[in-house]
Amino acid sequence: MADTSTAVSPAPTSAAKPAAKAKVVAPAFREYPTIPALQIDSMVESTPYIATAAHNEPLGFPGELAEGWEQKAVAKMGELLGKYRSLKVYMDSCVHCGACTDKCHYFIGTGDPKNMPVARQDLMRSVYRRYYTLPGKIFPKLVGARDMSKDVLDDWFRYYNQCSECRRCSVFCPYGIDTAEVTMAAKEIMDSVGVGHKYVNEIMGKVHKIGNNLGLPGPALENTLEGLEEDVLEETGAAVKYPLDVKGAEVLLVTPSADFFAEPHVDSLIGYGKVFHAAGISWTLSSKASEAGNFGMFIGNYDQMQKIAMRVREAALELGVKRIVVGECGHAWRVAYSFWNTLTGIGAGANDPFAIQLQKQLDPNYRQPSHICEVTWDLIQAGRLKFNKDANDHRIVTFHDSCNVARGSRMGDYAGGQFDIPRHIIRAVANHYVDMSPDTTHERTFCCGGGGGLLSDELMDIRVKGALPRMEALKRIADKDGVNFMATICAICKAQFTKVLPYYGFKMSMVGGVHQLVSTAIVLDNEQ
């Protein structure tokens, strides 16, 4: 817990009481999903632990809130308005039509009106209007403008940490207003005055210091991977390798560090290895870039995002690989697919020396970067993998589209490939597959409730409540079709669901990775 007593003005008041003690209550399943009635301030207690100077300073953020922060925050907002067209256009364009009001899983789960996307944006828009628009300067009341104050900051810290940046609202807004962009800007502004989410800032510190979010040092990683090799050999008789830092390998696999030891994540890592083994592709992990996740995105900080992404570029150059492949992680894939080319030149079509250097090394015959699902699906189509589908017969499978993959990226060669490819793979390796209700899948998918850096324990109540719409959709097909396995391709979804499923009466082992299913069914050549 942050010691805020030395701060000039006390840090967000509610952050001072440990939110973890708050009761975690799962809402009841609704018979017919209706829009909840407003429950004003029902989530006002939910606030993350505040980062301390020890977390903030290594990232270049001030240690704590200090005198004069209001002006600094407003100035930072001005800076971001000049750097991000999204923010500027979204601040101006909302007509308060209300179309987004019932689209956020956190609103559905809590009824707190400040979890309606437009109301969440208005927390910032009210300040924007006060300082950056004429009507807000002259008639603040008329347009709902407010001064930047401690109360406002407290509300920001609470409610921008109840947004998983899932972008569901942006699908439904007539102007595509993306609350995630607003949330990221708000977090960037808060960090710039020393008010950050402890969990997130701590993790970014670990990435820089050790190379991954979990703080697993190289030797530990090596041990883990050796252990995996032994397990797989014992189980299958095949000498599948999980190589680390192998120069000259064809593929560099960058995967969320949870894959190295967390359940059920590790089963997917085992699956990736089996796929490469079966296809005879040489590959390696990197101890330097032993993390695909990039929490820089969650706090909207371009510098952090670029620094974290740069590790992958450096590892690729050092190891001399030809292809870069990303494991099952939703926000990592968004950063990789949508941002890596911009941030680090992993991708094609550049004419600047910085990116061209890398382009010379990477194989232009492959999409750069590729998602592991793209790799596997291409191999399946080419007939290079064999499966015993019956091995998955104890499972009736459904697929949870992770928000960052669904609405922030793509796979394959056409719009919407990110929906089809994982489903194609599942159908190729398992006999029983059922989709959840179309209102809750594809671009309309509901977030697991733990995205955007909200995966910390003190936020468990909002995490559980935010999972409601997904849990309801799962419940319907579990009852009707006996679905007992929800596959997903996101480390955060997996971690979140293992925690949250029991609150809704499901077994935590119901969630797993797509490559976990691949791993179960794949037929390896045991002679090797």
Partner: protein, 241 residues
């Protein structure tokens, strides 16, 4: 009154044109440093143009999200568009045949516009969630537009004014000539509200109209692996790195 309205219209036109031009320039010069289209998104520029067309003409996203708001909003906007086109006859001589052709539709469009506005306004009172997010300015904006529609319809159907004189007045304004405006309270009210609307356009949520075209989630092509997208300020960081 002639001079007052002439002056007001000149000022309002300057504010509207200058203000919107400045806003558009400001949006255009602000970089979008990252690729953030809401996917699945078109992978080609023509695809994006088609997506934008569907958004502007059919309000596609709104249709997905809420049929009530879509129906009322679309009714209002289509009504507004037809009414605006119909008003072009006050500014052109001879009247373009397309404008002449839509005159009868334009009349009904006035009712559609008013009905749509009334429905949208009712939502602000009746739907708890929308009541919560509404600010006084949201109500005033609807009141203003509804006032415009109602005074317009009144002049059309109840208390007629001399529209030939009105046309002479506006044609005159366009060549900096001030002709008499019929002295008619309904007309004064109507024109007063037009002036007000023109003046607040560039400083209010009416910016949604230009804003839509600049929304990165809607106007970006989904091709980050094929082309490197780099904002000037981001490129500068790279040089330092």
């Amino acid at each position: 009154m002639n001079y007052l309205f002439a002056l007001l219209f000149y000022i309002a036109t300057l504010i509207l044109v200058g203000g919107v031009a400045y806003r558009v320039y400001d949006y255009a010069r602000t970089p979008a440093p990252l690729k953030i289209p809401t996917t699945p998104a078109p992978t080609t520029t023509s695809g994006v143009a088609f997506r934008m067309f569907r958004e502007v003409v059919f309000f596609e996203s709104l249709f997905k999200s809420n049929l009530w708001i879509w129906a009322l909003g679309w009714l209002f906007h289509v009504g507004l568009a037809l009414v605006l086109l119909r008003h072009l006859r006050y500014f052109t001589e001879p009247v373009n045949f397309i404008i002449a052709f839509i005159q009868p539709f334009g009349m009904y469009a006035g009712f559609a516009m008013a009905a749509g506005l009334a429905g949208l306004w009712a939502r602000r009172f009746l739907v708890e969630r929308i009541r919560y997010i509404s600010t006084p300015s949201d109500h005033l904006m609807l009141a203003l537009l509804l006032g415009l529609a109602v005074t317009g319809l009144l002049m059309k159907f109840v208390m007629h004014t001399d529209i030939v004189a009105v046309k002479t007045f506006f044609l005159g304004l366009m060549v900096f000539e001030i002709n008499p405006l019929p002295s008619h309270p309904g007309l004064y009210l109507h024109l007063g509200m037009v002036v007000l609307l023109m003046m607040i356009f560039p400083i209010s949520k009416l910016l949604h109209a230009p804003g839509l075209f600049f929304s990165p989630t809607r106007n970006q092509v989904d091709n980050p692996r094929e082309t490197r997208h780099l904002a000037p300020w981001a490129a500068q960081l790279e040089r330092k790195a």
